[in-house]
């Protein structure tokens, strides 16, 4: 376990400061988030399909 005397690698450094933080406009983000949810669902389907195709062609190559 570390004891806080581990040299330069373990020293704490200054973090970048952000003076003015952006408040999130939830209403505006709602529209975008619905689109993104749809994109992720479609990507998930596509990747499943691709994996199935790859595993099927693998069987043929191996002579199953």
């Amino acid at each position: 376990m570390l004891n806080g005397n581990e040299g330069d690698a373990m020293k704490a450094y200054e973090l970048p400061r952000v003076s003015k933080k952006k408040k999130i406009d939830i209403k505006k983000l709602e529209f975008l988030s619905k689109k993104i949810k749809k994109y992720f669902e479609e990507e998930e389907e596509l990747i499943k399909k691709k994996r199935n195709e790859n595993s099927s062609s693998g069987r043929i190559l191996l002579g199953y």
């Binding site: 704490a12 973090l15 952006k22 999130i24 939830i26 505006k28 983000l29 994109y39 990507e43």
Partner: protein
Amino acid sequence: MKIVLPVEFFLVIKDKHLILDTSVFIDAFSHIKDFGVLFNQLKVQHNVTLVTTEHVLIEFLKGSTTETRLDEKKAFFEKIIDAYLPCRPDLLKNLLELLKLYKIDSKDLSLTDLYLGALLVKYRKNIFLLTKDLTDFPTHIFNRATYATLLEANSIRNYGVYNFDQSNKE
């Protein structure tokens, strides 16, 4: 849907930096009202700086089927965060120290998670990580400072808030 927080939640991370990992962004677009309210409370009422890394951005964007979709995902992502934390070459030293602590458990970790862990090591008490991947940040290495729970109609999702505070380990 509702996010339930323990009483100390805001007190623990007040005035600090909070890193959001990929799992949080993925859940945020499915529950933007709940997460949006929480993020605004953190930013406005508790002076928390929401940050992430470019590794997390890439994890969020990969697989995008068109340029437009990639741009929209990036826009969503950047409307939430206040800044990206730079992963400079010197972070490698922190990462190597972290590998010594993880031992065999680092074998299956993603590079993104390792870099997030290295940032916790580098910035110590000043920074926290919000993540749903609870097993990737074990409590024999990191301090689980607080947590959040998302209550859904048919499930419950838990998020840990971790930092690297060795004073709790002695």
